[in-house]
Symmetry: C2
Subunit: 426 residues, 2 copies
């Protein structure tokens, strides 16, 4: 089944069998007995994947392959004119026991797009580049979106100086060196807006909004803001037998009320662009026969809408005050993260949307509720993202899956988007 290009578009499409094969090929590196992928930074599987990608780019794309000081992999094909490049990519690492599609789709579809253009002998004015960023996922060094943050200067090389692998204790700087990077040299090679014109990332949605709406594609509007609070509840530890119910100051029950209040407040917003989670809770002394004296929670709210965040924090403050009075406990709150939402580039969004409509497809206009490398490319490039559906919304697990036909649609849209932007941008 080959996708038919509409008449007014340049007739070049991705190769469905090939992109499916690429995904299966990359998935071999780090596949465990559960069918999950273990491919964290510096692992054998990471190195295998890197070598395979570099060889593929050299042989299939005849591209110039380089490794930057953050150990990000780059492939380049020259354009007809001396211009800043159009860059496509994502990441090839995986969370522990992760899936075959997260990150991989973006890197391999970038490869397939460049290969298809090459085979169709379509000459772009701009150079076209592919990037596969290092360590986008949570990893044993406890630093995610490492490659994109390092190379754009969001993360200072010095800041990672002491980071080590939690199991092997290898220094992150040593790991990067093994992979062809050099932390000390990052500052001399920071990406700026002189180096990139456009960055396009295709990624799996990792949620089920596309699936629930029956759409194959989403154009990302913004990448969600992430707000986190560390909340400590000070109650009174006491004997769980002799302390009557009305004399208790139970920190766990206060935390329970607070967690449920977060859920209730977010649900009341009745929006698809906000979620709230208490993912972490520690009780002390955490003993069957002692009333919990303290509870420590981490609250996370994700939304692209500052007003919604403000409203939720106000409601939470109100509820905290009520719980403090009701239970005679003290609630201390500390903001530990307040990462603002990052909008995608309007022009890139518009061209992505036009390309999708040209194929007669529908799309959703969605905020990304997960962070991505694209966030860090925004300051240096006109950045856009396309989402493809995650079956049942599953991600970061062996069951993670996206239908090939949806990936093909995204690939064809990317080709037309690249062609259109290549024409439009000087």
């Amino acid at each position: 089944m080959t996708y038919k290009t509409p008449q007014d578009l340049y007739p070049v499409t991705v190769n469905e069998e090939r992109i499916a094969k690429y995904i299966q090929n990359l998935a071999q590196f780090g596949m465990n007995e559960k069918g999950g992928i273990d491919r964290s930074l510096g692992s054998k599987a990471d190195i295998q994947a890197r070598n395979w990608l570099k060889k593929l780019w050299k042989t299939a794309l005849n591209a110039t392959v380089t490794v930057d000081p953050a150990a990000n992999l780059w492939a380049e094909r020259k354009g007809k004119e001396k211009m800043k490049p159009i860059v496509l990519g994502s990441h090839h690492d995986a969370v522990a026991n992760g899936g075959k599609y997260d990150g991989a789709v973006g890197v391999l579809l970038a490869t397939e797009v460049v290969q298809s253009l090459k085979e169709a002998d379509y000459k772009l004015r701009h150079p076209i580049k592919i990037v596969s960023f290092s360590a986008e996922e949570p990893n044993p060094y406890n630093i995610s979106t490492l490659g994109s943050r390092l190379i754009t200067g969001v993360l200072d090389g010095k800041q990672i100086g002491e980071a080590t692998h939690q199991y092997t204790h290898e220094k992150l700087s040593e790991t990067l060196k093994r992979l062809g990077g050099d932390v000390a040299d990052v500052a001399n090679h920071l990406l700026t807006s002189d180096d990139v014109d456009v960055f396009l990332e295709c990624h799996i949605e990792q949620g089920r909004r596309l699936m629930d709406y029956g759409s194959s594609l989403a154009v990302v509007s913004t990448i969600t803001g992430i707000y986190r609070e560390e909340i400590t509840i000070y109650g009174e530890a006491n004997h769980a037998g002799t302390t009557m119910m009305e004399n208790r100051h139970d920190a766990l029950l206060a935390g329970a009320e607070l967690s449920l209040a977060v859920e209730e407040a977010v649900l009341k917003q009745n929006r698809t662009d906000v979620v709230g989670t208490v993912g972490h809770m520690e009780i002390s002394p955490n003993s069957a026969n002692i009333i919990p004296g303290t509870a420590q929670l981490i609250l996370e709210i994700r939304t692209s809408n500052d007003q919604v965040l403000k409203r939720l924090i106000e409601q939470l403050t109100q509820r905290c005050a009520e719980i403090e009075v009701k239970r005679q406990i003290i609630i201390k709150r500390k903001t530990i993260l307040d990462q603002k939402a990052v909008p995608m580039d309007p022009l890139v969004r518009k061209v992505l949307q036009q390309s999708i409509r040209a194929f007669g497809e529908s799309y959703l206009d969605l905020p990304s509720m997960a962070g991505h490398d694209a966030v860090h490319m925004v300051p240096v490039a006109k950045t856009g993202m396309v989402f493809v559906p995650s079956i049942d919304g599953k991600s970061h697990c062996p069951e993670e899956k996206t239908r090939t036909e949806d990936i093909v649609k995204a690939g064809n849209v990317l080709i037309q988007t690249v062609i259109a932007l290549d024409k439009e941008l000087d």
Copy 2:
């Protein structure tokens, strides 16, 4: 201020200054810089306390002092007749950073009672004994009420064979040996109903019922039953950004609802003899950006009333089913403790009550919501307990305090109770 004995009672009372001094003396052993007591089994403070008690009993009481195979300390003064002894006592160990009164009051007041009777030259028909049990409190060997359970055969010497101190790693059997015990010899010296006639324990309430009612004394009706369940909630760990609220199966929120349901159900009973606690909760993966996949809780319900327990468990089962349906999660429950309530001896209770009334005092008839060594003496002796008030209900902390005048009242009641039981029992 000396307590005046009513005319129809034998004129012997405890010495207020002396009992206050005894309590301050014992508190020196293990007192830390916070004013709390650190006196766990086998510690230097434990050994100092043991030596001090043994010397006190020999010198002040002219008693025969022995150490049984469970390292429990005993003092004996012979009676006029060949009878089974009346035993008074409690324990002298303390939880980490505990108080001066828990256990100590029972042992020292027993001492004071025997000393007062001796000084008044009152000759009992029965032998009178004092016991201070080993390791009643939660301790670094993770075995509480050790001495009373060992010597009454509730705990088999073999069962503690492998227990070790969590910090020093000393074997419990070695510790007991250092203290004059011998685990291997316990089986040959088990207490039976041939060895004890009556057991009387005075203890601090560790709650605030006496204080709230303005009473100085309580006669314990039963020692509470303790029921524990390990509850595991299986939800679905998922991305805390991309998983919309309505698609979540959040184990923490299910645990929060369950914990609040326990509180609600217990409060609805509107009784002073039942409490319910979720003291332990572990979340997994317990990460800020992942929806909690599992939650493990320990629920404890304490009540002396089987019907109340049954009703609460039924209500809990109902609520679990509702939460399972609402959140599409699975709740597995396992009963890990179902210790039935233990009633105190009716005759001993009656004599205690009569003695209190003879002084014109009021008392509360209360179930003990904490476990005590007395529980394990029930099968071998007519057992009774008296509670004295804990100021503000505080216990197991440096602030633990009981007014000396209340301890004196309990001492005088114990003297009259011993005299009455000595007359009544053959």
